[in-house]
């Protein structure tokens, strides 16, 4: 799956030996890092502004995940000899972050934290499901 992209990343130091190319690549990488940090700020802003836990998980962890991935990718373009470890770090962040946000959302729903203070929340099918099948809650 991701193996093809990863094996391509190993070839970066071999392909790019010209200095001029390196300069252009470094500037592109710096801009990618900048975009990633902007995403991080937006995610943290969403963390402050959103009304309840689930929306905070949505905006906070996801946007900061993309921000981290983009900034590490930019650094991998700036310093090609580090790209191996940076890409393993990107894979690590991409694999662990959805798991932790899913576990947090599950725990928050289990604690019966109210979904939103205003009347914005439309539906909650999971509570309906639990009300219809009470034995599923026990496990």
């Amino acid at each position: 799956m991701a193996c093809l992209v990863l094996s391509g990343s190993l070839l970066w130091p071999v392909i790019l030996k010209k200095d001029i190319k390196m300069d252009v690549l470094a500037i592109i990488g710096a801009f990618i890092t900048l975009i990633g940090s902007i995403f991080m700020v937006l995610g943290a802003l969403g963390l402050v502004r959103m009304p309840d836990v689930f929306n905070r998980i949505q905006t906070g962890t996801k946007a900061s995940t993309l921000g981290t991935i983009l900034s590490l990718l930019g650094l991998a373009l700036i310093v090609p000899s580090w790209s191996g470890k940076l890409i393993s770090f990107i894979l690590f962040v991409g694999l662990t972050n959805p798991v932790s946000s899913h576990v947090l959302a599950r725990a928050a729903h289990h604690l019966k934290i109210p979904m939103s203070v205003s009347d914005r929340t439309v539906t909650d099918k999971l509570s309906e499901y639990y009300n219809n099948n009470p034995k599923e809650v026990e496990e």
Binding site: A26, I27, G29, A30, F31, T33, L34, G36, S37, I38, M40, V41, G43, A44, L45, L47, V48, V53, R56, I57, G60, T61, S64, T65, G67, T68, S71, L72, L75, I78, V79, W82, K85, L86, S88, F89, F92, V93, T96, N97, V99, S100, S101, V103, L104, R106, A107, A108, H110, L111, I113
Partner: protein, 86 residues
């Protein structure tokens, strides 16, 4: 050129950490605080990688990797604790 842009990016990451620190201190429930903790650690591991670029140390990447691993395990443990109580 590159260093200037990277400095701006690092400053923006610090702003992100400060914003989530607000939620960490204020957050009404435990889950809010854990979410804020998650965002803070992910952003600060990116800052650690940037610091590694500035001081030109390859070993800082390992520090960032272990830091991210510990934050993941911490979040899982706290979530499991508040869900099941053990």
């Amino acid at each position: 050129m590159v260093n200037t842009i990277l400095t701006i990016a690092g400053a923006l990451m610090l702003v992100a950490i400060l914003l989530s620190l607000y939620r960490f201190l204020k957050g009404p429930t435990t889950a809010d605080k854990v979410v804020a903790f998650d965002v803070m650690t992910v952003s600060s591991s990116a800052i650690l990688v940037l610091l590694g670029y500035y001081s030109n140390r390859y070993i800082y990447l390992d520090v960032a990797l272990v830091y991210g691993l510990l934050s993941f395990i911490g979040v899982i443990i706290v979530a499991r604790y508040i869900e099941k109580g053990y």
